[in-house]
């Protein structure tokens, strides 16, 4: 990989961007887990038994990983979690988009009432955003894998 792609400043920027994004995403969910459970149910991909536990634990995981990435502690572990979560979000959005089923992303709390077309358009943007964040995760993982003493 090109040297500039693994430059420490780029890694720092990626960590900060991911950290801030995940902390901002976690806060509204922490404040209202029932809304998150409802949003996850909308994806129609999660078994009923896993729905509420996921809605309760996911925001804390996002917050912890966001803080770890910001602080520069346990960066690789946090990036692995964040990457896993983003992959799950991408999969959920893509599957629903493929079926033209408009859902609320639930990514940053609940959104206001929107038309089906607006929801589908938002889902496409959410998917693009998550793919961009996945690239940042890949950068952080690649950089931390080549860390020198």
């Amino acid at each position: 990989m090109s040297r500039w792609l693994l430059h420490p400043r780029l890694t720092l920027l990626a960590r900060l961007a991911l950290g801030v994004t995940f902390i901002l995403a976690a806060l509204p969910k922490l404040a209202d887990p029932p809304s998150l459970a409802k949003a996850i149910w909308g994806y129609q991909l999660v078994p009923a038994l896993a729905l509420n536990p996921m809605a309760l634990v996911l925001p804390w995981l996002e917050l912890l990983c966001g803080l770890a990435l910001l602080a520069g502690a346990w960066v690789r572990a946090a990036a692995l979690w964040v990457g896993t979560l983003l992959l799950a979000f991408v999969l959920g959005l893509a599957l629903n988009l493929a079926q033209q089923r408009p859902i609320d992303c639930g990514c940053f709390g609940t959104a206001g009432p929107r038309t089906e077309a607006e929801r589908l358009a938002d889902m496409r943007w959410d998917l693009l955003r998550d793919l961009g964040l996945l690239l940042l995760v890949a950068q952080v993982l690649a950089a931390t894998a080549q860390r020198k003493p």
């Binding site: 029932p34 459970a37 009923a48 509420n52 809605a55 309760l56 912890l64 690789r76 572990a77």
Partner: protein
């Protein structure tokens, strides 16, 4: 130096464990409206499709005195399933068994309100406090104390299995009424009317509203 594989794995697991612990503690100390049962009390299948629409004339004669002993119970099974479609075309006037969960129009909801039928509001308690149908009971399907609220409602109204109960939420894509109706259906109630257009429609029609919690 490369981080040892086991060290990263241990940290990944530790982050997960801390998140789980934090979730348990936070959920325990959360306000009832923000609390979530670890195991949902709802029958959460795929997002349900819309129930059949019931014409207005079916809503008019709903408030009937219930025969004694008609409380829902496992020993007293009720006809919960809708009638199977006939293989041949059925004339419009032919009597058919009513579906246990039916959708009613705005007009039918207004008639039901005037007839004094009980209304259940399936929206979140915060939304209910901001405004609801007068006399409606707040039974938010996504909050942990749903069961207690339903018990309160039943203790107050003592609805028989066949008594009509109107359920509404936020209209549009909202499926909370349907979830609540399915829960009540599982408990033996079989005359559940969903006011699909819900609270926004009620407000738009300038019908009376009430504010505050219950």
């Amino acid at each position: 130096m490369r981080l040892p594989w086991h060290s990263t794995t241990l940290r990944v697991l530790t982050l997960g464990a801390i998140a789980l612990l934090a979730a348990v503690v936070a959920n325990r100390v959360a306000a009832p409206s923000r609390r979530l049962a670890w195991r949902s009390a709802l029958a959460l299948g795929p997002a349900p499709a819309s129930p059949p629409v019931v014409p207005e004339h079916r809503v008019q004669p709903l408030p009937q005195p219930s025969p004694p002993g008609s409380e829902p119970s496992p020993q007293n099974p009720k006809p919960l399933a809708p009638a199977k479609p006939a293989p041949t075309p059925v004339p419009e006037q032919a009597p058919t068994a009513p579906a246990p969960i039916t959708e009613i129009s705005s007009l039918a909801a207004w008639q039901a309100f005037q007839a004094g039928l009980p209304f259940l509001d399936a929206r979140r308690s915060g939304e209910f406090t901001e405004g609801h149908l007068p006399g409606a009971w707040n039974t938010p399907v996504w909050e942990a104390d749903l069961e207690d609220r339903l018990l309160d409602f039943k203790a107050q109204h003592r609805p028989a299995a066949g008594d009509a109960i109107v359920i509404y939420c936020s209209g549009g894509e909202c499926r909370d009424s349907q979830l609540l109706a399915e829960k009540l259906l599982a408990q033996g109630y079989f005359h559940l009317l969903i006011y699909r257009e819900g609270y926004p429609d009620w407000v738009a029609r300038n019908h009376p509203v009430e504010k505050g919690g219950r």
